[in-house]
């Protein structure tokens, strides 16, 4: 009996090592595996779809190669559930041997997978979520963001309101952490009077009562942060209530992910952003043209940042000569950000967050009847996020 066991084990061992040999030899030629995390089910799935399509277009433009090596993308639906995200991402790293994890729309998902990914010394590149702790004290040598720190877009609108000379502004956001952060981000730059702050339940879809309060207060402008379907409802009801003459300043509220549903009602409304389809550079023109050609809708910043991330990975792997094993070299190569961004200016700061421009953008109707955001003016020029100073990047 004992003998048989030993024999079987030995045979298994032999078999395994026989299998392992060619694997080692082929390692350099094996495709780079990218785990792409996005929310693809549930009410917020349209944002994840933008992200996925943007990255996939990037891979197509790169002919499915990253830095000269063949590449495979494993799409992971995080379901907007932190527990599901952690399980799936762990499996992607341990079972499917993903070399790098990219994506993530929502901050709570990013927070959940941050440790599981970085602890395995796998690089994690967020293409959208940018919670401030990870830009400050919680910065991590295995984490990069190609998007922004969440608060920055709100601060852009605060600065824009200040520049426009508004004296009395009303704020309305959903009553949860990100909503309160939005109000704080706006107030960090706006020096005028905040007439009132309205916090609505996250599940509330009808804003008639709040709109009446806004009309009664008669502010110079409204600042709001209403992501996804909330924004669709607010924008249309705002217009229907005849409040359109009060300037509508927002972040993550009017963008290409929701503009098809907001339509005409959103035209002329403002948003603070890193990117618009109209930014004049070659890389962006090609991205927008081919994206619409392939997917038949106008890309939002979720798609643009993901597209950039594909090119970032390509440049980094090219720099290391296809070597993913030397983490230090790979980190330096990512950090160099030696690629052409659809945003024009792009560099990484010491905290691995972008140093970039921020724009005031306005919603417009295009000649073909579709809607998009169009950049109006630059609000911040090559700005470093306000949390970078708190980051003491640990040596890996």
């Amino acid at each position: 009996m004992m003998r048989f066991e030993l024999g079987r084990r030995a045979a298994l061992g032999l078999g395994a090592s026989a299998l392992a040999m060619p694997l080692v030899a082929r390692a350099q030629a094996a495709p780079v595996k990218v785990g792409l995390v996005a929310v693809l089910t549930g009410p917020q799935a349209s944002l994840g779809t933008h992200l996925r399509d943007g990255f996939m277009l990037g891979m197509r433009h790169l002919e499915n190669r990253l830095g000269g090596r063949g590449a495979e993308v494993l799409v992971i639906d995080d379901e907007l559930r932190p527990d599901a995200a952690v399980t799936k991402v762990r499996a992607a790293i341990e079972r499917d041997r993903c070399d790098v994890i990219v994506g993530v729309v929502f901050s709570n998902i990013l927070a959940a997978i941050m440790r599981p990914v970085t602890e395995t010394q796998t690089f994690l590149i967020s293409t959208n979520a940018g919670p401030s702790p990870f830009a400050g004290r919680g910065c991590n040598p295995f984490f990069f963001a190609t998007s922004y720190v969440n608060d920055q877009n709100h601060a852009v609108m605060g600065q824009a309101a200040q520049d426009a000379g508004y004296r009395r502004v009303m704020i309305m956001t959903p009553n949860y952490q990100a909503g309160r952060d939005a109000a704080a981000g706006f107030k960090s730059r706006f020096r005028g009077e905040v007439v009132d702050e309205i916090y609505t339940p996250l599940t509330q879809l009808d804003f008639s009562a709040e709109l009446a309060r806004i009309a009664a207060a008669r502010p110079d402008a409204l600042f709001t942060f209403m992501p996804g379907g909330l924004g669709v409802n607010l924008v249309r009801q705002y217009r229907q209530a005849g409040l359109g003459n009060i300037p509508f300043l927002s972040a993550f509220t009017v963008d290409e992910a929701v503009l098809p549903a907001q339509g005409e009602a959103a035209v002329g409304f403002f948003t603070g952003t890193t990117w618009t389809p109209t930014l004049p550079n070659e890389q962006n023109a090609r991205f927008v043209r081919d994206f619409e050609g392939q997917f038949n809708y106008v890309p939002a910043s979720y798609a643009a940042h993901a597209y950039d991330s594909a090119f970032l990975l390509d440049s980094a792997i090219r720099r290391t000569g296809g070597n993913l094993a030397d983490k230090g070299a790979l980190r330096a190569a990512i950090r160099a950000a030696d690629f052409r961004s659809v945003r024009g200016n792009f560099a990484f700061g010491a905290n691995h967050f972008p140093v970039q421009d921020f724009w005031l953008a306005k919603v417009a109707r295009r000649a073909d009847g579709k809607f998009q955001t169009e950049h109006e003016r630059k609000v911040f020029d090559n700005v470093v996020d306000p949390f970078a100073a708190e980051c003491r990047m640990p040596a890996a």
Partner: protein, 307 residues
């Protein structure tokens, strides 16, 4: 707070109440007559809105969409009854809750697969795009007034159907004592089917009405369902009259609470605390109201079932 603003908020509350009533009416009948807990009722509201979005995109007219969406919602309700709910009438409540919850998940995902995850919009009908200036700088959209009018008319029609027709009489009898009605030779299953289809159509109607002011998206009915349950519990299960009054009450309490609570809190607290506490309290308000009413009238305002 000025009197005009108070009136405007009253109007807003009334309009929310009307929408709630259209959803709750079907729910209370299904629950009252069939003793059947249908969590999937909110999904029928969503399905109605999606039908409206689909037909509006196809025909380019809101009125045609409304005309087509109503029978579509009715058929869809009957289909669900035939495929799923029919097999659950004799099961206990837990089985009904589980199965209808499953229907919610399947349909929420189903509309996403058919129509995509992005919210859809339905344009306002041309005749009702304007608004009436109710106070300085604020228009009250004509369409919302039309919702109120349409909802009140539907409530009147429903009252007539339930109180003055033979089917209505059977429905009332069924809500009071279903086994007795069956014993008297009425085909209770057929009655159930009619009630169910009609309830689904009413919820679908609410969805069609809401589509031009709210975004049409997966899961849009889930929150309203909770409010609708509050309404039927306050109103008394099985009572149309109770559902009507409770829906208006819930609509008004919810809206007035939301608009006045932060100002009220400011009397005792600092502005930033008042905003936080006010927002929290106003979202609790209707549940507090429900608890208070049930403490005095455990069977709701207009109990139907013979105890």
């Amino acid at each position: 707070m000025s009197t005009t603003l108070l009136l405007v908020q009253g109007l807003n509350g009334l309009q929310l109440g009307i929408l709630l009533f259209l959803i709750a009416a079907g729910l209370t009948l299904v629950f009252g007559v069939m003793d059947f807990i249908n969590l999937a009722h909110g999904v029928q509201y969503m399905v109605g809105a999606y039908f409206a979005a689909f037909f509006a995109a196809q025909t380019g007219s809101f009125w045609l969409a409304l005309l087509l969406a109503l029978p579509a919602a009715l058929l869809f309700g009957l289909l669900l009854e035939f495929l799923v709910f029919r097999h659950l009438y004799d099961r206990d409540h837990m089985a009904q809750v589980l199965a209808t919850f499953g229907v919610i998940l399947v349909l929420n995902q189903g509309v996403k697969m058919v129509f995509g995850a992005a919210p859809l919009q339905v344009p306002l009908p041309d005749a009702l795009t304007g608004g009436i200036r109710v106070m300085d700088g604020l228009l009250y959209p004509t369409y919302r007034l039309a919702i109120i009018a349409g909802g009140l008319a539907t409530a009147g029609l429903l009252w007539w159907l339930v109180e003055r027709t033979k089917v209505g009489m059977l429905v009332r009898a069924g809500a009071t004592n279903a086994p007795m009605v069956a014993a008297l030779g009425v085909d209770i299953r057929r009655l159930f089917m009619i009630v169910f289809g009609f309830g689904a159509m009413l919820a679908g109607f609410a969805g069609v009405l809401a589509a031009p002011i709210l975004s049409v998206e997966p899961g849009m009915g889930d929150n309203l369902l909770i409010l609708a349950f509050v309404v039927i519990v306050i109103g008394g299960i099985g009572s149309i009259r109770g559902a009507f009054l409770a829906a208006l009450l819930v609509g008004l309490v919810e809206t007035l609470g939301r608009s006045m609570m932060p100002d009220l809190m400011r009397l005792f607290l600092s502005p930033s605390e008042a905003r936080q506490v006010g927002a929290a309290l106003s979202s609790m308000l209707i549940y507090i109201a429900m608890a208070a009413i049930l403490a005095f009238r455990p069977a709701g305002l207009f109990p139907v079932r013979a105890s």
